[in-house]
C-alpha cells in the first residue's frame, strides 16, 4: 500500500464528505431541529441524483439548472411526506417510509433504467477542472465547500428569522408554539420541504461528482446522515452556537467518509460499510442512556447521605 494512494483516497473521501454534508444539513433540520426521524431521505437523495442525471444526459440541460430542479424535486418529496404527516396524522416515520418506497418506483420511471452514466457530459465540476487545472476530487471538494458555506449562512439566517424561530420552537414544544398562534402543520411542512430540498441537491451534486446516478444510491442515506451528525456532535459538541452546530454537520460528514476510506483501504468489504454506519449510530444512541443508568446505579447507597 503506498502513501500516495492513501492520500489520494483520503482527498476523494473528503470531497465526497463535503457533498454528502449538504444531505447531513438536511437531516439535521428534521432530526435535530424538528425532532423527527424523516426516512424520506433515502428516496429524495436518489431522486435528486436521478433527476439530475436524466436532465443532464437525456435532455442536455445545463448542470447548474439541473441541480436547481433536483432541489425542487426533493422539496416536493418532502411536501408529500409533510402532507401525509400533518393533514392525515400519519406518524412521521411511517409517512417518510411511504414516500421513500414510492420514490423507488418513481426514480426508475424518471431514469427509465436502473442507472445512468454521465461519462461525456459536462458537470458543474468539469468546467472548473478545465479552467483551473485542479484534480477532479479537489474541484468537487472546493465547489462543495463553497456551496456548503453558502447553505450554512442561509440556514443560520433563516433559523434566526420569525418563521425560523417558530420552526425551532415547533421541534422544541409544539403545544407552546401553537398556543402562541403558530400553525405547526405549516412549520413542519416548511421544515420537511427545506430538509428534503437540501437532500435532493446533495443527491444531484454527488451524481455529478461520481459521474453516474444509480437507483440504489440513496439506500442507507439516512443512516449516513445520522452517523455524520453523531460524529459531528462528538467532535464539536462543546461549541454551542447555532452556526458551529451547522458546521459540525459538514465536519461530521467529512470525518465519516474519511473513516470509511481508511477502513476500505485496510481491506474491509465495501458492503460491510452500512453495518459499520448502523453500529456507529446505535452506539451513539446507546452510550448516553447506558451511562445515565450506570451513574444512577452507582449513586445509590443503602445508608443514606452520610455513607455516600
Amino acid at each position: 500500500m503506498n502513501i500516495g494512494g492513501i492520500l489520494l483516497a483520503l482527498q476523494g473521501a473528503a470531497s465526497q464528505g463535503i457533498l454528502w454534508g449538504v444531505l447531513v444539513l438536511g437531516v439535521y433540520i428534521t432530526y435535530k431541529i424538528l425532532d423527527i426521524a424523516d426516512l424520506t431521505v433515502d428516496g429524495s437523495f436518489a431522486l435528486g441524483g436521478c433527476v439530475c442525471a436524466t436532465l443532464v444526459v437525456t435532455h442536455g440541460m445545463n448542470p447548474v439548472l439541473a441541480l436547481v430542479i433536483a432541489t425542487l424535486a426533493g422539496m416536493i418529496a418532502g411536501a408529500v411526506t409533510g402532507l401525509l404527516h400533518t393533514a392525515f396524522d400519519i406518524p412521521a416515520i411511517l409517512a417518510g417510509i411511504l414516500t421513500q418506497i414510492a420514490l423507488w418506483s418513481i426514480n426508475l420511471r424518471i431514469m427509465g433504467k436502473s442507472n445512468i452514466p454521465l461519462l461525456k457530459t459536462e458537470t458543474i465540476f468539469s468546467g472548473f477542472v478545465e479552467a483551473t487545472g485542479l484534480k477532479s476530487s479537489q474541484a468537487s471538494g472546493l465547489i462543495g465547500l463553497i456551496i456548503a458555506v453558502v447553505i450554512i449562512i442561509a440556514l443560520y439566517w433563516f433559523f434566526g428569522t420569525e418563521i425560523g424561530s417558530a420552526l425551532r420552537a415547533t421541534g422544541n414544544n409544539e403545544d407552546m408554539i401553537r398556543a402562541l398562534g403558530v400553525n405547526t402543520k405549516m412549520t413542519k411542512m416548511i421544515a420537511l420541504m427545506l430538509s428534503n430540498g437540501l437532500v435532493g441537491l446533495s443527491g444531484g451534486l454527488v451524481c455529478q461528482s461520481q459521474k453516474y446516478a444509480d437507483i440504489g444510491m440513496g439506500t442507507g442515506a439516512i443512516v449516513i446522515g445520522l452517523a455524520a451528525i453523531v460524529i459531528g456532535d462528538v467532535l464539536m459538541g462543546r461549541f454551542r452556537s447555532f452556526g458551529s452546530r451547522l458546521a459540525s454537520a459538514i465536519v461530521g460528514s467529512v470525518v465519516y467518509f474519511l473513516i470509511r476510506a481508511v477502513v476500505l483501504q485496510l481491506g474491509m468489504d465495501a458492503n460491510d460499510m452500512k453495518l459499520l454506519s448502523a453500529i456507529i449510530v446505535a452506539l451513539a444512541l446507546c452510550i448516553p442512556v447506558s451511562l445515565n443508568k450506570y451513574r444512577a446505579k452507582r449513586a445509590y447507597s443503602e445508608g443514606g447521605e452520610k455513607n455516600a
Binding site: 434566526g160 420569525e162 407552546m176 408554539i177 398556543a179 402562541l180 398562534g181
Partner: protein, 264 residues
Amino acid sequence: MLKISNVSKTFNIGTINEKKALRNISLHLEPEDFVTIIGGNGAGKSTMLNMIAGVYPIDSGVINLDGVNISRLPEYARAKYLGRVFQDPMRGTAADMEIQENLALALRRGQSRGLRWGISAEEKEQYKKLLTRLDLGLENRLSSKVGLLSGGQRQALTLLMATLKKPKLLLLDEHTAALDPKTAKKVLDLTEEIITENHLTALMVTHNMKDAIRLGNRLIMMNDGEIIYDVRGEEKSRLEVSDLLEKFEQASGGEFANDRMLLS
C-alpha cells in the same frame, strides 16, 4: 366580552368510555371580569378552558369572544386573542431556547411571522425591564436556556409571555398546582398584579378554595359538566370555604370535596 352559549362536548361518543364533559354550558363574561373556577376532578373545568382555546372541537354551541365567533377557528388562529398558562410548567415554554427567544415568540402571538429577524435590540431592553419586575433574577440571564430555570421561574415566565401582548382573555389552568406553596403564592400574587394592572379579563381554574374566594371578582363552581354555582362581587367576597362545600351539596346532592381541596 366572552359569551359561551349552549356549548356541549362528549368524549368517546358511542364507546364504553363515553364521557359527557360539558353539558349545555352557558357563560357570559363582562370586560375585566376575573373569574375563578372550582370543582371536583372531572367536573369539566379544564375541558371548558380547552374548548375556549380550541384544543378540541366542540360538539354544539357557540363561543363568541369580543364579537368574534371563534367556535370553529383552529387553535393557532384563536391564539391571537388568548393568553394561556398551563398546569405543567414544562408546557408553556421552549426549554432548548433562550429566555429572550421565548419572549420574542410570545410578543409575536397572533401576528403573521415573516422573514424579519426573530428578535430586535429594543425588544431585549424591554424584556430586561419586564424580567426585573418579576424579581427572580432573570434580568441578567436573557440568553440562558429556559430549561435551566426552576418550575416556578418557568411558570412566572410563561405568565409574562401570555400577557406580553395583551390578550382579550387570559386562561389559567391550575397554573400554580405543580409548584411548592411558597412559589405558588409568588406566582399567584404576580398573576393578580398583572391582571389588575393590564385590566385583563381572565378565567382561572384552581383547586384551592381559599384562593378561589380571595382572588377575582367572580367565582363559578362546576360539577359533572355543568356550572352549578355562579357568584360575584360583594356576595363572593363574603364567602367562606364552608359555604362553598354546603353550596355544592345543595346543588348536586353528592360528595364534593376531595382530600386535596379540603387540605389546601
